[in-house]
Subunit: 370 residues, 4 copies
């Protein structure tokens, strides 16, 4: 389905970096769910570039227009459409070097797939810009989940070589204040920013690791064989430009563990089954077990760097050298946190709805045993 | 879609470990493609347990019956259906301890989702047994890809703490001989087997890492935003029981790299654009760039171990201790290699067909510029 | 998705007329739903040929083997797989005339699409035989709907030029006894049978009209814009070989009505909104209005007739004449009734589940306002 | 998928009659296809109300803004987004009578489904207004098909009791001039218009029949079992508000034919297989046979009439009488023709692309035998 994802709740995404707009259509929400546009704006603000040496100097207001599906502050039950105009485009930056393929970017693959007809300005459909639309739509999913007692939270687990403190999954931090990094330990913000600026000052870029936690989700959500919780979330995470790995719970560390350590023992906590550890990241057999769902992604260093690089001239079909101008982030990890948050919310709400139905989004779970 | 995956080429999977059969329906193949049933049998053999201290003593012939879609050795263009009977089931092993939730397994989540009506015998739908069906169907996809010049190869990159040698992507090894591990360096087989047997002798289990390489795939395959090569393959890989992480190219190591190192410089190689390194694993912007597609998965240690474990009695709703009997693998990594191979083949063939169409599976790419 | 249909509840169908088997995989049912295999057998019996001059002399026991998803008489929540072996095949009847395209059949289009690799024996994937699988799977959907108070009923509205009496939607007849036609007025059975036999005696065939009614469905089911009740059901009905038209409520007669007559006035019936007439067939704006859903299909005359027909020899690429042998129905309308019944059940259960969720299939609607 | 339809080429639709805009996202086109915006505007003009006693006095310029996917007059290969602002809304007309359910409309079913949160103004998501978006997107599909030699043409076969002349499928008329009805016999326009105005003058409305023909489509397109040509097109046609029936070829008349008449004899025409008649409407076994695809829909009389009607007050839960004001069409058949045209183009292009691939949309069929 290319630019549409989801079974019961789906998102269709569109737009190019330097075209008129980016946007998204969100389908599958019940009618009558309250939507707080201030929370959408806050999510957009978390993704916003600030031109502060940490992110690109292409700063845009990112005002979200809702074209459909909302009336008097509530969903109407029909598709919600979000449009964000592109206002601060300087395509001239790109025209000069269009045939010089930027290493690490989709320039070459776009040529191969779209045969020269792609909108190459600013990365076109491959720009991180397109994630603005997913943030707008996904932040509504996050609000719906909040109404069902489910919270999605993402922090910067590692960035530019600096580790955040481990999260206490039972006691998640509040949302970061506007303009601040999402961290378990706010004291890590300054060192991370300094490391990012140091890389940027060298014309280079850095990557990192984002960790997401979903709390409050009931046991029994997920649709194996193919639509396991891991499959659904990984599918969405790998849609985010620059994400190159996803791991759940202990993740790649499982390769060094023995089963006797890797297994999470079950225990009763009152009437409720819990696990003593959570190395499986809240998912067994592709289905939630009621513990926090925990996963991490790796975000590669921004490919747009200012250092001179070897490349080819696609039109001349010969080797060349490239020095990128334009405006770019030395690190997109902090801005990507809210993208991960909101796409996770889409995935979780989709699987929840497959099990409990659209109508239950508004009415909640029945009392009895579901 | 739960048990069906794929856009242009799709697989529907069914069955339980101790039910009558497991199977799969493969849809979306062109008519007239040759199918070599000996290759299907060879793939099944690679997945087969051997009762040799490395894998479970539940050994089955795994004969694949093809119920539809094949005539005179060629596809008919309608769905291919594969059925593998379950012949060696000893459900008594499970009945004794059905309410004692096995840590690391889907026992509890199946209770939560299916409310006690799940087929719990032998792990039911969550057993690795169900992957036998995907191997049969996926091995046909692998044959179709071979006819298009595309090869899928998976080796055991790490198992039980032992690393294989790095693969030379330009010179992949041949398929492992029957009964042998898929390794770049065959000398690693004995040490791996000894380490697995040592863990098994302690009643414990081990995990590992599988690395898959796809060569010969043209540039331009993959459907961003949502159906990137990474999204499609990760979705499939996370369907494999025990896979808890997927990374492409440099993967999680990207977190420690700078952009100037992470980027793969483009170079001309005759008329062809190549990359000097392949840290992005053959994928830029979600689309193949013509270099080998490279990814790794982590396979957790088999949760079925013979050591006593803390758990709960789900019926009595109280803490309990569990000692598992039955027949289990101390390590499923070697057997999982062919599962990863064949599901990768499904994913790649699906994306290839979205771009070039069903008819081209038989007729190949046109001469001109596609 | 070719051979898979449905959003929340889906069916995948496979098989060829003279291959080993036909079958279907039904996914999306909740766990714990009772399945009465005697009702499946009764549905198969309704579709069965009887070799009595009304239907083909290819009579088969049509025993349904359930390969997965059922345990102790209840669904397990994982896919149900139904396999029906082909036992009475006489492919020799077809081999003689394989290149002589049978008018009205899929012979030529199968050549065009499958390039000669189709399984042409007995019509292959295009045979009415494949509907046996949909009857088995759909009859389980019909049972699930019955548990939710929803009944699906199909009668032969017209066959071989004979009209049945109009149905009283508020007082539907019971199921026809085994071997009998589904009719509002049982006295029409003998005249219909005589008219069919008369056509058959001339080596010719006849068609008819099937009318389906769904009662007990709550208002609010259906997913416009694209997944209206009409769209979903028509999609399924047009999958049935020989169905060439579908109309809801007054259907094509709407072309001769004025709005003042076509509109169904709303009235209160106690606390419930009803319509005074039901010309819209229980659907307004693509969504059920709580009145019986009513639609009709037209089933064309069986294309296999014994009269000599003009055709072409596809291999010789020249005009030819064809006299069909083999065993064929002079009329498939009576046997198609249960196919329509059961595919309707799939469609209705799918849309119901999109709204209320998988879990509600077992637990029913909540008390409150959904 | 609710508001998204299509496998290889898909459309997502959104918007409400009196919300900010209606729109559509079209995905799955190859890059580099020329798009003539004048043809889009012409299609919008064919759907436009003219306030001439034949259609509603709500006349809007219907300017189409393309937000993405188009650059320098060619597709970029990423989603095309079409937005049409709602400019001429007079919601006051509706507020007065919101609780009085309009017979024949979706007012009640929207209440039942959306629980009072629907956007009821002007029919909201159920208004014919939303089809403006599908016309914009579908007219691009029609252009793409034209580039492949495939033409889609719809005429008014019957309206307000007046029949058009039969179409000569081998010699289709040109497109109707702006403001004129699509007719085989232009002399029928005045009588139809008079009959429509006569009904409107009485405060009543009329319906009719639209016939669509697709020429130039190769044999072999269509994906049985479930995605037959008939299933795909009927699914789309029943999405159009007011369509209550769809029939292919002889359609419901098949009920009165014998097989010997219903079958279309095959004949050679040079090297090409053709049929002597076309009672099956160009489709055998769900697959195109190379003859013109022919189908008809019935469009019910506009439910909005000015005569007093019995209804209920949904809030007061009591019987009531309703006299509708506002601006409505006495007949939507002429305006619906282009909706049917363009949704047909979507369906045909989707099935064509499933078979031949996205890339072939630009490069065409290969020389050889596909």
């Amino acid at each position: 389905m290319k630019n549409t994802f989801g079974s019961a709740v789906s998102m269709t995404i569109f737009g190019e970096s330097h075209g008129p707009a980016v946007g998204a259509v969100l389908d599958g929400l019940a009618a009558g769910l309250p939507v707080d546009t201030a929370q959408i704006a806050a999510a957009m603000d978390r993704r916003r570039a600030r031109g502060d040496g940490l992110s690109t100097s292409r700063t845009e207001p990112d005002e979200v227009e809702i074209l459909s599906g909302l009336l008097d502050g509530h969903t109407t039950g029909t598709p919600l459409t979000f449009v964000i105009r592109n206002t601060n485009t300087r395509s001239g930056d790109y025209a000069k070097t269009a045939a010089l393929l930027r290493p690490g970017h989709a320039d070459y693959t776009a040529f191969a797939k779209y045969e020269g007809f792609q909108d190459a300005r600013g990365g076109g459909h491959f720009s991180g810009r397109i994630t603005a639309a997913s943030v707008a739509a996904g932040s509504v999913c996050r609000q719906v989940l909040a109404g069902l007692g489910i919270r999605v939270y993402t922090h910067i687990a590692r960035c530019a070589g600096i580790d955040d403190a481990p999260l206490d999954y039972n006691n998640l931090p509040p949302e970061a204040a506007p303009g601040h990094f999402a961290l378990a330990d706010p004291a890590k913000e300054i060192p991370m920013q300094e490391a990012i600026r140091a890389a940027g000052a060298e014309g280079d870029s850095v990557g990192g690791i984002l960790e997401t936690v979903v709390t409050g989700i009931p046991a029994g959500v997920g649709e194996p064989f193919f639509d396991s919780v891991e499959s659904e979330l990984a599918h969405l995470m790998f849609s985010i430009p620059a994400v190159k790995g996803v791991e759940f719970g202990a993740g790649f560390a499982f390769a060094g563990l023995r089963g006797s350590t890797a297994n999470d023992a079950f225990r009763m906590e009152g009437d409720r089954v819990v696990t003593a550890t959570n190395r499986n990241g809240g998912v067994n057999g592709g289905i939630t077990n009621g513990m926090p769902v925990v996963f991490r992604t790796v975000v590669k260093p921004t490919p747009s760097i200012y250092k001179q690089q070897d490349t080819v001239d696609y039109m001349a079909k010969q080797n060349a050298e490239l020095t990128i101008h334009g405006r770019h982030d030395p690190c997109i990890v902090p801005r990507a946190a809210v993208v991960q948050d909101t796409l996770t919310a889409l995935g979780i709400l989709d699987l929840w709805t497959v099990r409990y139905g659209t109508a239950a989004q508004k009415h909640g779970l029945p009392q009895s045993g579901r």
